[in-house]
């Protein structure tokens, strides 16, 4: 079954720039998809439309059965609870410990304290940070901070994990570490992962599905693709 379906999607920003032209896509449940393309190719816009940071100007974006374009502002949280999001800049709260940062995601949606504890520790174990639960983000390396962010994104066991350049600030070694974590999540939890990146090496090594965008057009959608120019 398709988890994500885009039909004739067009996104035109208010300043007149069109980021996406007539995009049609279907992404299966459980898949691991890279979205690649140069700057301004529309990959960030695509990711943003999937978590409804941006609304498409035309067409349909369906994520897990929800029509994102028709989702009212007040109801956005329903979509957000079904997915996890990881950014290039981690977006952790510096005054909270690793544990509290991850727990924050569950507290916000009103989970019970006992449940929070179990889920948070499980998520931190999955990203290999169980020994750092009481550290503050400031004391962690970039790779570790990103793993905390991933733990926060998966703690609610979402169907979909969106990653917007998660390795953008990391060196190749740390980047591969992150990719291993993501692959484990994809296989272990069955979470669908969509990752925007411009890191050729990662894409070539991972041999996953690849969506290539150029100037807002879909150029290629390949199984086991590579970063082709």
């Amino acid at each position: 079954m398709d988890l994500i379906r885009l039909k004739n999607v067009e996104k035109k920003y208010k300043n007149g720039v069109t980021a996406i032209y007539d995009l049609n896509l279907a992404i299966e449940k459980g898949s691991f998809v890279f979205v690649i393309g140069g700057s301004g190719s529309g990959k960030s816009t695509l990711i943003k439309m999937l978590y409804r940071e941006e609304k498409p100007t035309k067409g349909q974006v369906i994520v897990g059965g929800l029509d994102v374009a028709k989702l009212k502002n007040k109801k956005v949280y329903k979509l957000r609870r079904k997915l996890g999001i990881v950014f290039q800049d981690y977006r952790l709260l510096p005054k909270l410990t690793v544990y509290e940062n991850v727990a924050f995601a569950l507290e916000c949606i009103g989970e019970k304290k006992d449940d929070i504890r179990i889920k948070v520790l499980k998520a931190l174990e999955d990203v290999g940070l169980k020994n750092k639960v009481h550290e503050y983000p400031g004391n962690l390396s970039g790779g570790e901070q990103q793993r905390v962010a991933i733990a926060r994104a998966i703690v609610n066991d979402p169907k979909l994990l969106l990653c917007d350049e998660p390795t953008g600030n990391l060196d190749p070694e740390k980047s591969m570490e992150i990719m291993r974590v993501l692959e484990d999540i994809n296989k272990g939890r069955g979470t669908t992962i969509i990752m925007a990146t411009h890191d050729k090496e990662i894409v070539n090594k991972m041999k996953k599905q690849v969506i290539t965008l150029k100037d807002g057009h879909l150029v290629r959608f390949k199984q086991k693709g590579t970063y082709a120019e």
Binding site: N73, K74, K82, I85, R91, L93, C108, I109, G110
Partner: protein, 299 residues
């Protein structure tokens, strides 16, 4: 139990934020305090004014004297016309005979003097005593009655009543104006306090949105913060209302200037006013923070 858990979290966050932005919170609280003191004084004054006016209204009677030669049918006609006036609530009629008897009862001197007159030559007049519905319109009502045929004189406490009623309603209007202005200033200050809180927590809010916190969950701590500010701001005004009014009442022994102006009993009046003050404080805090949240959060 989920709503309670969320509420607990919101309250915790709100209290934290009040303490963290202590100086600004204090500024808001002081502003609310000053506003509420004036609001409370205004409310007390206006309730008392209403009370006076009602008392006066109850006592105020237009006395209508008919011409000496008014016959019984004239009296009927006058009665009919008085009855037709809108502002007339009720009226009683006293014939010369009744007036005479009443006066005779009241004093020995009158008794002997009045006994020497028979009905024909009596200087006494038939009278109507008219009560009005709206005291503000008493003078126009009196004028209307005066124009009725066979009415000789109309009396009520003209000058005094008019002036007093006018003064009261002017005072009331001015206080309402001041209260509204102060409430607006306070709301503005709260908007700014909450705005600062929001900007201090912008990152947190952004993450809350991303992880799927509902809008209500995001707004709740700020709205509760506003309510807390309102609640703290109403403490001093309430103390002033309770102790102040009791002292005021005791000092004047329940009356202002004359027996005519009677103050409202402090109990349970001050407690009712306190409730109103708390209510206004919390409401103002809530409105201020809600509008700040709406404007700066765009959730």
């Amino acid at each position: 139990m989920k709503p309670f858990r969320m509420l607990g979290r919101s309250i915790r966050d709100a209290v934290k934020s009040v303490i963290r932005n202590f100086s600004l919170s204090l500024a808001s609280i002081s502003c609310i305090t000053i506003t509420l003191i004036i609001v409370a004084v205004a409310i007390i004054a206006s309730y008392n004014v209403q009370n006076f006016t009602k008392e006066i209204e109850r006592d105020m009677t237009i006395v209508v004297f008919l011409d000496n030669d008014a016959t019984e049918s004239d009296v009927k006609k006058v009665e009919k016309e008085i009855k037709a006036i809108n502002n007339v609530e009720k009226y009683t009629f006293q014939s010369k005979q009744e007036v005479k008897e009443k006066m005779q009862e009241e004093s020995e001197v009158f008794n002997t003097v009045l006994n020497n007159w028979d009905d024909e030559e009596s200087p006494l007049k038939d009278t109507f005593q008219v009560k009005v519905k709206e005291i503000e319109k008493i003078s126009s009502t009196a004028k209307k009655i005066e124009y009725i045929d066979k009415v000789s004189v109309v009396r009520y406490g003209e000058g005094m009543v008019d002036k007093m009623v006018n003064a009261f309603s002017a005072v009331e209007k001015v206080t309402y104006g001041i209260v509204i202005a102060l409430v607006l200033v306070t709301v503005f200050l709260i908007v700014n306090t909450i705005k600062l809180t929001i900007s201090a927590r912008r990152k947190e809010i952004e993450i809350m949105r991303l992880v799927g916190a509902s809008n209500l969950t995001i707004k709740m701590p700020f709205i509760i913060e506003g309510m807390i500010l309102g609640l703290f701001g109403s403490i001093v005004p309430i103390l002033i209302v309770i102790y102040g009014y009791f002292a005021f009442y005791r000092y004047f022994d329940g009356y202002l200037y004359s027996r005519l102006i009677q103050l409202i009993q402090p109990e349970p009046f001050v407690y009712q006013i306190s409730l109103i003050v708390i209510g206004i404080g919390i409401l103002v805090g809530m409105i201020g923070s809600a509008s700040a949240v709406r404007r700066y959060l765009k959730v």
